[in-house]
Symmetry: C2
Subunit: 333 residues, 2 copies
Amino acid sequence: MKKLINKPEDVVKEELEGIVFAHPDLVRVHFAPNYIVRADAPVKGKVGIVSGGGSGHEPLHGGYVGIGMLHAACPGEVFTSPTPDQIYDATKAVNGGAGVLHIVKNYSGDVMNFEMAAEMAGADGIEVASMVTNDDVAVQDSLYTQGRRGVGVTVFVEKIAGGAAEAGMPLKELTALANRVNENGRSMGMALTSCTVPVAGKPTFELGDDEMEIGIGIHGEPGRERMKIKPVDEVVDMMADAILTDLPFKSGDRIIAMVNGMGGTPLIELYVAYRRLAQICQGKGIKIERNLIGNYITSLEMAGFSITLLRADDEMIKYWDAPVHTPGLRWGM
Amino acid sequence: MKKLINKPEDVVKEELEGIVFAHPDLVRVHFAPNYIVRADAPVKGKVGIVSGGGSGHEPLHGGYVGIGMLHAACPGEVFTSPTPDQIYDATKAVNGGAGVLHIVKNYSGDVMNFEMAAEMAGADGIEVASMVTNDDVAVQDSLYTQGRRGVGVTVFVEKIAGGAAEAGMPLKELTALANRVNENGRSMGMALTSCTVPVAGKPTFELGDDEMEIGIGIHGEPGRERMKIKPVDEVVDMMADAILTDLPFKSGDRIIAMVNGMGGTPLIELYVAYRRLAQICQGKGIKIERNLIGNYITSLEMAGFSITLLRADDEMIKYWDAPVHTPGLRWGM
């Protein structure tokens, strides 16, 4: 195992210590239970937004805590759900009196632990609403998941809901907006290589030297099909077809598009993939209004990428464009 | 070779086509000869800044073209110097009447071709000043290089000079500032794995399963020492010691620090490395005023990282903080 770490069991703790050194202007970190919270939390009179999940997907979620996005993030161990007490404490820390929204990726452990934390916070009199992302079109049920997995659209939900919360949107309306983003978003990923969870010490799965896996999950869960490597244009064609026909996206749609690296993919390759995606959308009369190209929801050092497309309305684009200042996403300030 | 590409010889062209689709608000791309130029170039009455070098280091340099940073970038083929005609044409395209600054990393081919282009532009009556970055403390001479290699400080020079040019600094003063940044910056890198140049089709060098290389160059040039993998704290200790004693940095110094991923390194590991770097600086009374943690000057999919430290004065920090809007770096707007 080749990793820039000390002890495998200390990776998350030491990453959080790095965040403390790096971003004291933006966030505070609470240890045991672990959560990252906006430096100015709780923001009085505004809805607090909490997300979280296993570590190893950085910058998701901790890198999205700051102004205009998440109010707190709860990092579990690598590829492991955060515990209810982490989420409960983070929920209390961001409660500014206007309620708290939980953004949860659809993995059974995450869903269960966020539910438990919401109940605990509710018993304290904190109004908590929850929404679950499930945008991965690759497979219906999966390892760790009933229904579809929550992947790239989570970045979009966190940004758009974060912008709306900053603008003072009340909890009920905010929850509806977050759900609308999820319902209009679709994703699919692929892998050229596996990744290695530090405490496991060996690759999560094996892939031949000439093989790739289409529809891979962000924890290496099996996808749709394992096949020989093809030119990236053909790979993008397959993925875009699966995504576009699923919603379905139609001529005249305006979208926000993300070509996301899994962690071990050079940026130059992501632009080659984006080129093909843009050609496909152009050919179908679908207008890419905004784009993100880079590493936003990763799987440690996995080589591969995912595509997320969001059919966006004016309100979504307005809050997408709203100022954001987090370690992982920043514009307008 | 596992890559998200079509034909190896088309990678750079297709990446540039991706940039055309992705960032029409920020940049234009000229093909044959290839260069990326600010959408609003030439900026009348202000110095134009041109950089460039081999592709494969993205976001450097093309990702730093935009408001407040580079006016143009000339991408060569992967790990190959740009040609004089690329640089000459880019220089003409950004000439707004106040002269042009060339920022060149110290590799013999880059230096030679930028010199030739500067002469050609000079013959046209364009005032061109050049500065060469050479911040890599690892080795004195290297494959492709006489003297020290130019690496991470190039990002700092491009940002700080870019901010100053935007503010209207004249060419002579701007060149002096760029040189001062280089003179006060030091870097060192390391690799856990090699990378594969697409047209080569096989790894640039071989490294054992339990080995790492300290002092690696961004094209895989040999470093100081190949050794067994150690805990990242020990790796950072070695690299920081080499960097800090070289300038030397002293108690009371204010610095801008970058922990840069080589392309295949998970962000979580970069934060673990940053933690140790911050501890070391704190222990020595060196104050990290600003930081960058992520992929800023890469080597395709190489796993590894580099550290760049810049002893910064007020003027450098002022232009570091100045608004920037490029595909690869953005704040304040």
